[in-house]
């Protein structure tokens, strides 16, 4: 156990624990955009910066990734930090002029309005959460990794459009998130994982009674054969089954349990 202070408040934490987690546990607020508890950190938005003083030396770190390894003093709201946060939000507002989330944050934090033309973009701030979500829970996981490995073997250091379901394409100031060649993806399963984690609502999902449209593609919903409950998109159900190495049974968990109970009963001849 390590003792640290955050804004003067003494906090106890485990070695290696991320600073953001420690702060949250102690009800100390640090704003974030690209952090999600369930996904690996990437440290791309830089909004969660704080000042860390360790043996007399002060540096600025991102709290979502900084592992506590010794006794430190943390300040989350110094003038320097607040100025940086304002600037980061002000910069993001020009990247994502249509995002209300960013506009609200700008207002709340008092970010200046910079005299530079906005991107004609929408709401995306390039935080990369969607890509990570798809990699972890969506169809991106397998596809992305195999393809990137292959490309890297050919000497390519950058993901090319076509690498996965969605990917960060281009580099530098022209970076963007997109499906291969901006066309509806072949392998997307319409799970909506990416849209769920997006902090700005850039990824549009429209749903009707029998389907969902995401990334320009329509997906039919699948329903439980027995009780008719919504299971997700048809592709999603098939993908999950495939990953589990079985055939899709189109049953909701409750009905599946019931069915196996029935089967068991049959087998023991109690029917």
């Amino acid at each position: 156990m390590i003792q640290i202070t955050i804004d003067g408040i003494p906090c106890t934490c485990k070695k290696g624990e991320k600073l953001l987690a420690v702060a949250r546990r102690n009800n100390i607020f640090i704003p974030t955009l690209c952090h999600h508890d369930g996904l690996p950190g990437m440290g791309s938005c830089r909004l969660c910066v704080v000042e860390v003083t360790e043996s007399g030396r002060t540096k600025v770190v991102v709290s979502c990734l900084y592992p506590v390894r010794g006794e430190i003093e943390v300040v989350t709201n110094s003038e320097r930090i607040l100025a940086h946060r304002k600037m980061i939000l002000a910069l993001l507002r020009k990247r994502a002029p249509k995002s209300d989330v960013i506009a609200h944050m700008c207002e709340a934090f008092g970010a200046p309005d910079l005299p530079v033309a906005s991107f004609d973009g929408g709401k995306c701030i390039l935080c990369g959460l969607c890509v990570r979500a798809c990699d972890l829970i969506g169809a991106g996981s397998v596809a992305t990794r195999t393809l990137l490995k292959k490309l890297a073997g050919q000497g390519c250091a950058y993901p090319v459009a076509g690498a996965g379901v969605i990917a960060m394409v281009n580099r530098g100031t022209t970076k963007s998130v997109s499906t291969p060649y901006d066309e509806p993806s072949e392998i997307c399963i319409g799970c909506g994982g990416c849209a769920n984690v997006c902090p700005t609502g850039e990824i549009t999902v429209t749903e009707t009674d029998d389907g969902r449209t995401i990334w320009g593609k329509e997906f039919k919903f699948a329903f439980c054969k027995e009780c008719g409950e919504l299971l997700g998109t048809d592709k999603e159900v098939r993908y999950a089954a495939q990953r589990g190495g079985r055939d899709p049974d189109f049953l909701c968990p409750a009905c599946r349990q019931k069915r196996s109970a029935d089967a068991m009963a049959d087998a023991f001849g109690r029917r």
């Binding site: 830089r46 991102v62 100025a83 600037m87 990137l148 490995k149 000497g155 250091a157 530098g172 100031t173």
Partner: protein
């Protein structure tokens, strides 16, 4: 006496036809062989003074010829090699017009001290035998008898700091990797030199590949690694070839492989070709690229020494750092520490380019002044123009103005003045350079090279680019300078990797030293240097013009005409390129406020 003819076949000289010179000399030697106890022709790596190439040096007399053509070959053999007579027209002429016979008497070479480049330009880089004959691999043999602790102690004592950029103490890096229990461990050589205009690492890999390998082998012994990677920029075809060949030769000799020199130590090296991105020079991005992932930097809160390649302890040093190691082991760390300054020991290789008379590759003791480097070694500014600034440290380095020419070049001093050592690029600018345009140029470059992962770097650069472009085209606003400073400060503190945190350097240093130039652009719509086309017009000063019409010959738009046989005038079709001003020997063409705004 047997004489050796060294023909420089580095990239610069090869472009000037040194391969043909080498062939012609070989033929001339063969033709003369009947009555000669001469002589072999050796193709070497870059000798440094590429500007005056192809270079030919005759040893052991140490006669150095410049700008040699194939048809000079016969005369060189007959006169110099056989009869010992120098050929005047091929010699270097110093500033007072005297011919200089020996390399060391040429001021370009005289002030240099070569450690990293000790063999470059002297040995045939393709031959492991020549390397061994020049003392190569003796440090490895010595290191095999030393304990890991003894090796690291020498390196610590030498005080050497990483030559690739940040200047982290190499010994300390090795020590923290050596104490870790876990295995495997790796050593990496960063040969991803991506700065435009920089070619020092390429020249070393090309001209003395075994010294890099030897350094890495010693490093591997010290930390207990059994595998090493050389990450080489894809454009360096020659360096890739040369390193691969060197690895094969070392394997054949039993210096690499199952058992190094008959001991039970194993070591394998391989070459990885870079992805061609500037950001891959950043160590975490580089490792990510070797692993086969996207070449993007990662947060560095756990040092790569602990968790580097594939999460294993990894020591990564750049080419120049590695080549210094054999010298340190052989001569002792103390000896190395005596060179240079207290905080920055040893020497540093620089690529001196831009508006300087002798561009090329130089190696000087740390702490040398910029003035000595630019005016004595580099021969000053061509065409007697005025020195304005020098940029150090590559595209994200800052610039130093004339008033600071006497500061010593070392890691800490450069940093104090807002720039950095970087990998050793040095671009000299004369008074025809606009510092706002200079900043805009590099920000533009970095906009394309940033990986785009984090907000401050990606968005900050885009904003800076837009603001600077506005200023250069006459749409600058009050407050722009302060805004640039604010964005810069957020980029320095909050960027994820060193690319982003150093990217504002060109902007912040030009504001620091040339603020008046920014203000002239913004407030008076005037470009004092006469570079920004939208703010500049050119006119002929008839008092100094001699009517030679040299300007007319270079004007791409034919805008310079002579009316009624009088002096030239510049018409409306002028495009503002400034070529006429550069070419006029009488300084009769002046940049004035004007242009399109």
């Amino acid at each position: 006496m047997t004489r050796t003819i060294l023909v420089c076949c580095g990239t610069g000289c090869r472009a000037n036809g040194s391969m043909d010179v080498s062939l012609a000399l070989t033929a001339a030697v063969a033709a003369a062989a009947a009555d000669a106890n001469v002589c072999c022709v050796t193709e070497t790596g870059c000798s440094g003074l590429c500007e005056l190439g192809p270079l030919v040096r005759i040893m052991p007399d140490d006669i150095m010829y410049y700008r040699v053509r194939p048809f000079d070959a016969h005369e060189i053999i007959q006169k110099t090699v056989l009869a010992g007579e120098p050929i005047e027209r091929l010699l270097f002429k110093d500033s007072s017009g005297n011919h200089v016979l020996h390399q060391a008497d040429n001021p370009f070479y005289g002030h240099q001290k070569k450690i990293a480049l000790r063999n470059v330009g002297i040995i045939d880089s393709r031959s492991i035998d020549e390397y061994i004959a020049h003392g190569g691999y003796s440090a490895l043999a010595r290191a095999l008898e030393m304990t890991s602790d003894e090796i690291i102690r020498e390196v610590e004592e030498s005080g050497i700091r990483g030559r690739g950029g940040a200047g982290f103490p190499t010994g300390r890096k090795w020590r923290s990797a050596a104490v870790l229990e876990s295995s495997p461990k790796y050593v990496i050589c960063n040969g991803d030199e991506g700065d435009p205009g920089a070619f020092m690492d390429g020249s070393i890999m090309d001209g003395d590949p075994h010294s890099v390998l030897e350094g890495m082998m010693i490093g591997a012994l010290a930390i207990g690694a059994e595998e090493g990677f050389l990450y080489i920029r894809d454009e360096y075809i020659q360096a890739v070839k040369s390193m691969k060949k060197a690895i094969r030769a070392a394997e054949k000799r039993g210096l690499l492989g199952e058992s190094i020199l008959g001991t039970n130590r194993k070591l394998y090296f391989s070459v990885v070709r870079g992805g061609g991105a500037f950001v891959c020079g950043e160590s975490t991005a580089l490792m990510s690229s070797i692993e086969g992932n996207v070449g993007e930097p990662r947060a560095k809160y756990i040092h790569s020494v602990e968790k580097g390649l594939w999460g294993c302890p990894t020591v990564i040093n750049n080419v120049e750092t590695w080549t210094n190691i054999p010298f340190i082991i052989n001569a002792g760390g103390k000896k190395f520490a005596e060179i240079g300054t207290e905080g920055s020991t040893g020497t540093k290789v620089f690529a001196l380019v831009g508006k300087v008379k002798y561009t090329g590759l130089v190696e000087v003791p740390m702490g040398i002044t910029l003035r000595k480097l630019i005016f004595e070694i580099g021969g000053g500014i061509p065409n007697n123009r005025k020195f304005k600034a020098v940029q150090t440290g590559g595209p994200s380095g800052g610039c130093i103005p004339a008033s600071l020419l006497d500061i010593p070049v070392d890691f800490d001093t450069l940093k104090e003045y807002g720039t950095m050592m970087g990998s050793g690029g040095m671009i000299v600018m004369d008074d025809h350079s606009c510092m706002v345009e200079f900043a805009r140029y590099y920000v533009n470059f970095l906009c394309g090279e940033s990986c785009g992962k984090c907000t401050p770097c990606r968005e900050g650069l885009r904003h800076m680019q837009s603001i600077l472009t506005n200023i250069c085209s006459g749409y600058g606003r009050e407050g722009d300078i302060e805004l640039l400073e604010m964005i810069g400060s957020t980029m320095i503190d909050c960027s994820l990797c060193a690319l982003g945190s150093s990217a504002p350097n060109p902007v912040l240093t030009t504001i620091r030293y040339f603020r008046d130039e920014y203000e002239a652009h913004i407030r008076e719509h005037r470009c004092p240097a006469g570079v920004c086309k939208a703010l500049t017009a050119f006119s002929v000063n008839h008092a100094t013009c001699k009517g030679c019409m040299a300007c007319n010959a270079v004007c791409p738009t034919r805008a310079i005409v002579r009316l009624n046989g009088g002096f030239p005038i510049i018409t409306k079709s002028c495009d503002g390129c400034g070529s006429c001003r550069d070419v006029c020997r009488f300084n009769a063409i002046e940049a004035v406020k004007g242009g399109r705004v």
